[in-house]
Symmetry: C2
Subunit: 703 residues, 2 copies
């Protein structure tokens, strides 16, 4: 199905006519800026200043109000105080106005009264079919179409050239700073959008629209929170489907940052771990800092395509800095395979004291023998064993005399190995830097920044063939209960495809004997009661029970002990289950995020979850690959691979269990608010996984 961009947003971002309400002739005034910028940059549509107290503004005929105009207007820019903004929208005839950008502040960001005014504004716009950007925003620019619907002074200090990067920022200050940095870094923009209070259009709307925009290759987004999780997921999915990488900075990574974000933004910040899961899942690259944000945008914009995998070649004329780069590569999760033996031998034959492994260090010899650089790099890349190449030229990079060598190196490498992105570290002048960039090379003064950027961008390869989300299970669900004891919970999960250990609720001793006979081998008996949480404390557990006599005795003992210790407890019966095999104890759970819905958690039991908070998250539903990524993400993963002398675990079975749990959680999101499987036992490889106990909570029921 071909997705089309939202036509109301197309009308906003690519308007044929723009009215500026509150247009001013006084330079520096908010209402003067858009008129000036539109004319300065040569906007080709119609510009209509609206001001009741002037006939012309900056030489253009002005209208006293929107309804005084007889034609339709695609976009109105409201540069008037809050009191007049609603009035201006109201003055538009139904259908006359496509969208409005509202610079005005004093709305939701100031408190309850402002939020009410903002609601009113939205109501008026909705009635008239007007889309709103803002209020309390810096507006937007469509650089190619020369639409400067902004009062940010940033473009006045020097415009950014048209290019393939779209920037969308909830924060105007961040956006303006990013615009200025883009200019400094020489990046070209397609659009620059600030969403402000997001009364109507939010960052997700913009991402989705940009995913369909022909001028945009890379989407860079800054966000503080999100109110509509489903829309954001749809937007990120659209960008992924369109092959447009998304770089995102979201504040509130840490507790301190989240507190600061909450005190700042009106939007619900939500749980950062869930955002992190979302970005991983949809292949959006999260940048922690403005520097990273730009390095990623720069890389994705400069390279014809991102690296196809994680195999990095490091190529230097300094062994020490090569090792520094190798350190960074390991931190960044990149692999450093050795060059082919023949290529190594050829280098060592020429330069006996070179290092021919990876990092490849041709030594300072590269300076006296300029051909060495290209010949060696070309040789090393010949058999396709590298996905990217990072080159460090040391201080020689600044040499006048060697520039032709370096320029030729970059040109030839791009020509001969177009599929292998190239990053060069050296201190070039800005002009030379831009020359290399035009060839498709990245240039970084700091070699570690080059490696870090490569490491992050390589994540895109993991998602290159990301499967569509798995269909939710379509089984006819059994009728809902108000509450689920552990036997019912396990039954529910078993039907959903999870490997729940068999367990049978026996309401009397005979039933327990029959159950044990069914299960074969010694069994565990446990009291089942909605009123008893700590079963052992009331004598409610007997392990390793074998034989009918022992079984009847254990059953009686349990009931006696429970009646003695908890005489008031309601008793559902006694659970009979096989004794658990040996395995590594894991925990899997689902909770319902208020913004994104059901989120699946995975971790190892014991100190891993309780002390180290070593858990990973994904939004439901997801498939096995995502589940595997989720399992590999935890720090204690080595334990599942067979650390401590135990055999490696059946990680595939764990992944299948998590994927099944995610499908269940998604399909039944209206029925259940949480699931906890503890322990979920990871058995040795080939033997599967086993849920030993589970608690499920109904949604919407006060319990």
């Amino acid at each position: 199905m071909i997705q089309l961009p939202d036509p109301t947003l197309s009308r906003l971002f690519d308007p044929r006519s723009i009215a500026i309400v509150g247009a001013s002739a006084t330079p520096g005034k908010i209402g003067a800026m858009p008129v000036t910028l539109l004319r300065q940059h040569g906007y080709e549509g119609r510009i209509i200043p609206v001001n009741p107290r002037a006939d012309t503004i900056q030489g253009l005929a002005a209208a006293p109000s929107l309804n005084a105009l007889d034609q339709d207007v695609d976009l109105a820019i409201l540069a008037v105080p809050a009191a007049h903004a609603a009035q201006a929208l109201q003055s538009a005839r139904p259908g006359q106005l496509g969208a409005a950008v509202i610079f005005t502040s004093g709305y939701a960001e100031t408190g309850a009264a402002g939020a009410e005014q903002q609601q009113r504004l939205c109501g008026i716009a909705r009635e008239r079919g007007i889309r709103l950007l803002g209020p309390n925003c810096l507006g937007f620019m469509n650089v190619r179409r020369k639409v400067y619907a902004t009062f940010s002074p940033a473009p006045a200090n020097g415009a950014v050239p048209a290019g393939g990067i779209a920037m969308v920022s909830q924060s105007g200050a961040f956006g303006a700073y990013a615009y200025s940095m883009a200019r400094e870094r020489g990046l070209g923009l397609s659009h620059w959008i600030s969403t402000g209070n997001e009364a109507d259009i939010d960052v997700a709307d913009c991402i989705e629209w940009l995913a369909h925009d022909a001028d945009t290759r890379v989407i860079m987004a800054y966000m503080e929170g999100c109110r509509d999780g489903a829309k954001l997921r749809r937007a990120l999915a659209a960008a992924r489907a369109a092959g447009k990488p998304v770089v995102v900075t979201k504040i509130g990574r840490t507790q301190a940052g989240a507190q600061a974000a909450a005190s700042h933004t009106a939007a619900l910040a939500g749980d950062d771990a869930v955002y992190d899961a979302l970005f991983r899942q949809y292949g959006a690259l999260r940048a922690r800092t403005i520097e990273e944000f730009f390095n990623l945008g720069y890389a994705l914009d400069t390279w014809p395509r991102p690296p196809a995998g994680r195999r990095l070649g490091i190529f230097t004329i300094s062994g020490g800095v090569g090792a520094l780069m190798a350190d960074e590569a390991q931190d960044a999760g990149l692999a450093l395979p050795e060059p082919a033996a023949a290529a190594q031998a050829r280098l060592l034959a020429q330069v006996p004291f070179a290092s021919a492994r990876n990092p490849v260090d041709v030594t300072g010899q590269a300076i006296s023998e300029p051909g060495l650089l290209l010949a060696t790099a070309d040789d090393i890349l010949a058999d396709g064993r590298y996905d990217a190449l990072a080159v460090f030229l040391a201080a020689a990079g600044s040499s006048e005399a060697l520039w032709p060598t370096f320029e030729n190196f970059a040109r030839e490498m791009q020509a001969r190995h177009p599929g292998v992105p190239l990053a060069i570290s050296a201190l070039f002048t800005p002009e030379r830097r831009r020359q290399l960039e035009r060839l498709g090379c990245l240039v970084f003064p700091d070699p570690s920044a080059a490696i870090r950027t490569l490491g992050t961008v390589a994540q895109l390869a993991d998602h290159a063939d990301a499967a569509a989300e798995p269909a939710a299970s379509s089984d006819d669900p059994p009728p809902l209960l108000d509450a689920y004891n552990e036997v019912q919970a396990m039954d529910l999960l078993r039907r959903a495809g999870l490997p729940a250990t068999p367990c049978i609720l026996a309401t009397d001793a005979d039933a327990a004997v029959r159950a044990a006979a069914e299960l074969d081998g010694p069994v565990a008996l446990k009291i089942v009661s909605p009123d008893i949480v700590h079963k052992s404390d009331v004598g409610g557990v007997k392990l390793n029970v074998a034989g009918e006599d022992a079984l009847r005795r254990a059953h009686a003992d349990i009931l006696d002990a429970v009646r003695r210790h908890a005489p008031e407890a309601r008793i559902d019966g006694v659970l009979v289950a096989p004794m658990a095999p040996k395995g590594v104890e894991c925990i899997a759970g689902v909770h319902c995020d208020p913004v994104f819905g059901p989120v699946v958690m995975f971790g190892l039991g014991g100190v891993f979850v309780e002390v180290l908070k070593d858990v990973s998250f994904r939004l439901a539903p997801f498939g096995r690959d995502e589940a595997l990524a989720m399992i590999r993400e935890i720090k204690g993963y080595a334990l599942l691979q067979g650390a401590r002398g135990t055999p490696p675990c059946d990680v595939d079975a764990l992944a299948d269990a998590l994927a099944a749990l995610s499908r269940f959680a998604h399909a039944r999101r209206d029925d259940f608010s949480s699931v906890e499987i503890n322990p979920l036992l990871a058995l040795p490889a080939g033997q599967g996984a086993l849920a030993l106990d589970a608690v499920v909570m109904r949604a919407g029921l006060n319990r």
Copy 2:
């Protein structure tokens, strides 16, 4: 005791006469560069070209050889092939030459034959009392004294001004790149030194000399490895004692980096974790990247003094970026205390929609009300609750109109709060940036880099009053045994002041009964044999034994079982010990690093050590504060603070035990090669720590 700089190094780095052996008149030749640079920069001492085939070189009278000169020479620069270098040194009369810088390569870096030649060079120099820098180095510069004993082209592309930063780099390529970056960043240097193969003078020698150098305020070092750990410790201690911060980049942090380093450098790389411990212990700031290296040097050079602690104020005109900075602050281990209530109230009275907590966000209001910035920041700092202030000015920072406001802000803040370092994030022009730097302000385009730098530099406060190393225990040690069983090992550690649980070796049942009576309460019995490692497997352990009969029975059972399962085992007796109280199991150990000697390790038992490798290291000996830092450093520290419902542990007692272990390890470093205490039990607060079992290994004995 006042330490004086090594006079032989002073003669090298501040020479009154310099001979250039292999001096050349041909521009671009290695032998031409130092003569040209020395004259160009106006070196005031005597320059003596040495060349047997010319009477004058670059207009200076040349000597045919060193021994043809009748006067002494402080420094000879050898710019001749390896074959002639030894000859040149040999030609110096004993006592004539103070030091030589040897550019020549082809020595140890090329393999065994080269290493032998290098040895020969050293022998010749040692005989004649000549100190050597190099070979295979780029030489050095003393910027203030205009000594350019280098053939690096870096200063020819533009000289770095004189300043307070000394740079010393084992790698010439790194050094040359760092020189160029210093020029780009506008940093001033006192010295620039490349040590190359370090046949004689190494990075540690240079650090120690620079610690005493009056021109140097900050020492920036790059190293690949170290062969003399004691010297490096002495050097870092000297710098700390002189109050000169050391910023260090050492390659080989990761396995990939260490492999790369090992294949590159002739020096022993050693265990990176030990270097890391060393740097922490001596307050040297480790930089992972060239960028970090420079940010740290820049901060330490620009600020009159580093922050006195970790309390950071974040001050912005953008709430979103404030939250981004708060995220980074939390990652960097900085605290974000709130401003005083009165100061918060005053800000909110002026700007009701500001955020008055920390981050303090005065909002865009700062642009329309320029006085707001200074008044608020001043108010917030008034009661001394911040150690540093990080300010983000967003795109407004680039505004022409607002520059006077910002400049005044920086000037006034420095004047009113001189003890509080200030870092400003904005996109200033280079000139304005330098203006702010001259006022003592840091400027960073990336606010996160500002915070990260502050976080690292704040580590210096932890070491501001670092106590001298504790005196090693001076007890008369008992006579050495060839091997120690666990009872003897525990006895040894108990005498060294460690809280070893009492344990008595009983050679017969009567002795076991007497021992149990001494210990009071139920006891554990364990077989003691040098041939039995897994005691339980041979029935060699009985726990919780109480009463004489039970004791005799258990003793007999153990001996029976062991004789049956391990008939060949030599038996020392049966160990009697009290049953262990409840506590958190930790592990402490000592191993002997080939470069740095005894290193103490600490970790939590179980998965923490085995799966997560969650351990910390310190070089012995150290005191309680260092031991506390070591304990707090592990990821599982929360467990000792009372996670999982257990009471908090006696961390002080743990620290005392580690400090005692470190003193023992240091004092007896020639006698013992390793100690492992497992478990070292951390008891609840106030109840101490308890070593339950220990293994010690003698040094130098093959076992």
